[in-house]
């Protein structure tokens, strides 16, 4: 068993599989889009091929996780079994250690990193970022004048559960319908009745749509939810990203708002956009530079300072990194920052140095022996 896992033939098989996988995964992007191709080929154990005309999937290729995992075991076994620790294997050891670090680091990134965006207009201050993919059903108690009480239900829960109770809510949330992607159409007078009995949804009908796979498009989910208190139903609301603002209602003398919105990640500090500049090359529309001047204030640590974020120069703060990512085509005063939390972000740096140095050591030792033989 150990011999199998440490054999160089296994290494070659894995590398060959990896090549086929990467090649196929790249071509598949044309059809599936980046995100779906990634999920199918690289973030999977097996790649399935659906027999045309049926829904039967046949595994045709090992997926990224399987190839990477076997390669990792193979590497470790080979070192334990065959190489041991000797000076002339130092280069190999460094290369392989670096690769192990890289693979593990990427696995960690894959599992632990989160990405979100912050959309700031000049003068606006914000202490949260919005998730680019996931939404949440937020129910706000806005009765108090100085703060809101928020209960946020992640989209994944809406998809799984029919009934949701939360100690912060005096009613139960019943999910009648939930679609990861949706379209809508207005209800003409006299043509059918809306499924929603309350709020903005009474004038439009939402319907399911096929989920987007392309990187540059996002799903716009919609749901019909019924709020049921001990005294009976409060009504049915349509909630969707299509509806921009929260829908207000009263219950037991308190004011509430309900909205399906991009999931928010709050943090203990705020960024305020002071100025956004967006330069273009003379006489063209080619952007030459973006930069956002922001003010960072953290009440907990008393920090208060100005920061400039621009291309290739992000702000790293509180375990997160804020990148200049884009701009609003309509509004020149709006900046879009990409916020990434990635605990494994340093691993590629170490790995690059380790493998690079290892390769140099290894090849130099080859070269030295080659020259020695030549001169002999």
């Amino acid at each position: 068993m150990m011999r199998f896992f440490s054999s160089i033939r296994l290494t070659l098989v894995c590398l060959a599989c990896a090549m086929v996988l990467v090649f196929a995964g790249t071509l598949a992007q044309v059809e599936l889009g980046l995100y779906a191709a990634q999920a199918k080929y690289f973030r999977s154990v097996l790649v399935f091929w659906t027999i045309p005309g049926t829904s039967v999937g046949v595994p045709v290729l090992p997926g990224g996780y399987l190839v990477g995992g076997v390669l990792l075991i193979n590497l470790i076994c080979a070192h334990v079994q065959r190489f041991g620790l000797s000076r002339d294997k130092l280069g190999l050891l460094m290369i392989h250690a670096g690769l192990i670090l890289l693979l593990l680091g990427q696995l960690a990134t894959d599992l632990l990193s989160t990405e979100s965006t912050m959309r700031l207009s000049e003068g606006e201050s914000m202490s949260y970022s919005e998730d680019a993919r996931h939404c949440e059903l937020a129910i706000l108690d806005t009765s108090a004048s100085d703060h809101d009480l928020v209960v946020a239900i992640p989209e994944t829960r809406l998809a799984r559960h029919k009934q949701i109770r939360h100690p912060g809510l005096p009613f139960e949330v019943r999910v009648i319908e939930y679609w990861p992607n949706s379209t809508h159409r207005p209800i003409e007078p006299g043509q059918g009745t809306a499924r929603a009995t309350q709020g903005a949804g009474q004038r439009v009908q939402f319907v399911s749509a096929t989920p987007e796979t392309r990187m540059d498009r996002r799903n716009i989910p919609a749901a019909y939810v019924e709020l049921v208190a001990s005294g009976g139903s409060l009504g049915v609301w349509a909630v969707s990203l299509w509806i921009g603002a929260g829908q207000e209602f009263q219950h037991e003398g308190k004011n509430y708002e309900i909205a399906l919105r991009p999931a928010r990640h709050y943090r203990p500090f705020a960024l305020k956009l002071l100025r956004f500049s967006h330069d273009k090359y003379m006489g063209t529309d080619i952007p030459s530079n973006f930069s956002s001047d922001v003010h960072l204030s953290n009440a907990r640590t008393g920090e208060s300072r100005d920061v400039r974020i621009y291309m290739n120069n992000p702000l790293r703060y509180g375990g997160e990194t804020f990148y200049q990512s884009g701009y609003d085509q309509q509004d020149p005063r709006v900046t879009i920052l990409q916020v990434v939390r990635n605990p494994g972000w340093l691993t590629p740096y170490f790995s690059c140095v380790l493998v690079g140095a290892g390769l140099v050591v290894q090849f130099l030792s080859h070269l030295v022996s080659f020259v020695k033989r030549r001169n002999a």
Binding site: I8, R9, T11, L12, L15, A16, A18, M19, V22, F23, G25, T26, L27, Q29, V30, E31, L34, A37, Q38, F42, L102, Q106, T109, E115, K280, Y281, M282, G283, T284, I286, P287, S288, N289, F290, M311, N312, N313, P314, T321, Y323, S325, Q338, V340, N342, W345, P348, Y349, S351, C352, V355, G356, L359, V360, Q362, F363, H366, L367, F370
Partner: protein, 611 residues
């Protein structure tokens, strides 16, 4: 004699290479060379008018000069002068390349006639071209048929041509200098009348009408004029922005006077049109004198680019590589000493010109050597030739020279074809605007490509010599295999470091080390292939022949990584497939597979088949 021959040959071609640096002489009495050196701004960068002329012509017909029949050619800048000042003559020049058969049919061009036609030949069909192009533009780029692509290209060419005609003067004026002078005269009274009207006081309607009529003509000019000819009025506010002729004329209302540069250009336009060479040259000299003080920087930069354009160092090095290749191949059949030394020297001269060209470009752009696909082709060739020279130095058997010359030649041909797309020094988008990362990532990864191709072409030398010539011995085979292995090691190092550094750049710019983006995957494929070669050899699973074949297949992997991924969006999907570059890539891939097949046949030397 044998000792001196290589030196003499090299000396002659060296002088030829340098002769391109001599400033050219104008073809007519009009100082078109001085005109071509004038600075202007286009595509967001400062450049000489000569570059505007060449790049426009490249877009229209894929050449940098216009054929006049019977082998005579007209330089781009003389063509531009004609288009701008004497369009009725220029309309007869064969500046449009129309090679799509259906498009030729649509335009009533003879199927077997010349591919290059003048505007006169298509003038009556311009509306039809517009209609077809409008329809074709509605089709997404990746779904367009070759006819639709051709008609869209022609339509944008026609509009570019129209803009060039209206860049230096309104197309329909006879004496532009007189028009400008009249405008200048009407400016004062017209503005005074306008102010009076604003204050509800009596004013001269005639003065006002004269001014507004003049302005209407300039409005068209302002929307059409292509290069930004007129430098900023006030250097206090910075060296930007430049403006085009029409805009500058309109802005004269605010300044109360006409920009001096406009007057010089108007004088040149009238003099050229009226055939007065002396006056043209005087106006040109006056303008250059006026520029020399405040805009010395711009004039110098434009002049440098002009020299670079005229020299065309990469075309020169291409010719030298071809000679080196022939000499190197010939050396295997006889006169080894003389021919080998000649080949090495020619290759070295070609390499020096190549290097000078890269350095020249870097100085012009203020950038590292690789900024786009075009410059990557130039640089891959450079790295390969350098490696070849080193290999030749170690072995002295013409193998390094032949391989290097072949790669230099091929990459320069690729680069030349890429340059036909227009300006190769375009500005970089904001994300890429980082000299540090461009230097570290792009250069390492490109050198990795160079090394991969060097290994692959050494493999081809092995296969071809073994199969077709009697010059192959087991010793040569062993030596070649050893070289291939060494170069693969080099390629592994550079490809890996380059790929990871690219990931780090991505992490720095948007927080994602690896996104499985096609370009990243391409780089990863090269690294994986290197790993496969090294492990297969290290584990004893392949020997000499196997290693050679793996290296040759490396050419396929590398060319996919380099070019194939760029075609993903275009091809593969629907029809697109037949894009020219894609065809050539496929030709290359098939040729490599044939070489691999050849390796399995036994050569004339009867070398025993080994795995």
């Amino acid at each position: 004699m044998n000792k001196w021959l290589p030196w003499i040959v090299t000396g002659v071609f060296g002088l030829w290479a340098l002769s391109g640096l001599r400033p050219p002489r104008p073809a007519t009495d009009f100082d078109s060379i001085g005109f071509g050196r004038l600075p202007t701004v286009l595509n967001g960068r400062l450049q000489p008018l000569d570059s505007v002329a060449r790049n426009s012509l490249l877009l229209l017909c894929g050449k940098q000069s216009v054929g006049l029949g019977r082998g005579a050619r007209m330089p781009a800048i003389d063509w531009l002068l004609e288009v701008a000042m004497k369009p009725e003559v220029a309309d007869g020049r064969a500046a449009f390349k129309i090679d799509h058969p259906e498009l030729r049919g649509l335009l009533d061009l003879a199927p077997d006639g010349s591919l290059y036609v003048g505007f006169d030949a298509i003038r009556s069909r311009v509306e039809e071209i517009e209609t077809q192009a409008r329809r074709a533009s509605a089709v997404p780029v990746e779904n367009r048929s070759s006819f639709e692509k051709a008609v869209v290209r022609l339509s944008s060419g026609v509009s570019l041509y129209h803009r060039l005609k209206n860049s230096f003067r309104p197309e329909d004026t006879e004496d532009f200098a007189a028009v400008v002078a009249a405008y200048e005269r009407s400016l004062g009274p017209g503005l005074a009348a306008w102010r009076l009207r604003q204050e509800n006081r009596p004013f001269s309607q005639e003065d006002l009408d004269r001014l507004s009529k003049a302005l209407q003509g300039f409005d068209v000019l302002s929307s059409l004029a292509y290069p930004l000819l007129i430098p900023p009025r006030d250097l206090q506010t910075g060296r930007e922005p430049w403006s085009n002729l029409g805009t500058s004329l309109i802005e004269a209302i605010h300044a109360g006077e006409i920009h001096p540069a406009v007057r010089f250009y108007a004088a040149m336009a009238s003099a050229y049109r009226l055939g007065k060479a002396e006056e043209f040259n005087r106006a040109l000299a006056d303008y250059r004198g006026w520029l020399a003080g405040p805009f010395a920087l711009e004039v110098r930069k434009a002049s440098r680019e002009f020299i670079y354009n005229a020299w065309r160092p990469f075309v020169v090095s291409l010719a030298l590589y071809l000679l080196a290749f022939l000499a190197g191949c010939a050396s295997w059949f006889g006169w080894f000493q003389v021919l080998n030394r000649t080949a090495i020297k020619l290759l070295a001269v070609g390499f020096l010109v190549h290097t000078a060209g890269i350095v020249f470009r870097m100085a012009l752009e203020g950038r590292p050597p690789v900024t786009n696909l075009y410059s990557s082709a130039v640089f891959v060739g450079w790295g390969a030739v350098l490696l070849g020279l080193i290999i030749e130095r170690l072995n002295r058997d013409s193998i390094g020279v032949v391989m290097a010359a072949a790669l230099g030649l091929l990459t320069q041909i690729v680069a030349h074809n890429l340059s036909l797309g227009g300006d190769t020094m375009e500005m970089l988008r904001a994300v890429l605007d980082s000299n540090f990362w461009l230097t570290t990532h792009v250069i390492t990864i490109t050198l990795g490509y160079s090394a991969m191709f060097v290994a692959g072409f050494l493999g081809i030398v092995y296969v071809v010599r073994r199969a077709f010539t009697g010059t192959f011995t087991e010793a040569i085979g062993r030596r070649l295999a050893r070289m291939v292995y060494g170069v693969i090691c080099f390629a592994t190092l550079f490809s890996f470091v380059g790929t990871v550094v690219g990931g780090i750049w991505a992490d720095q710019s948007w927080g994602r080390f690896w996104g499985w983006d096609p370009k990243e995957n391409g780089a990863l494929l090269v690294v994986l292939w290197c790993a496969i070669i090294l492990h297969a050899r290290g584990g004893g699973l392949v020997r000499e022949r196997g290693l050679i074949n793996l290296a040759i297949f490396g050419n396929v992997v590398t060319s996919f990584s380099w070019f194939g991924v760029n075609m993903l969006g275009v091809g593969l999907h629907s029809y697109g497939f037949m894009d020219q570059a894609f065809v050539w890539l496929m030709v290359f891939v098939v040729s490599q597979l044939l070489f691999i097949g050849l390796a399995f046949s036994s050569g004339p030397s009867g070398a025993r088949c080994r795995r």
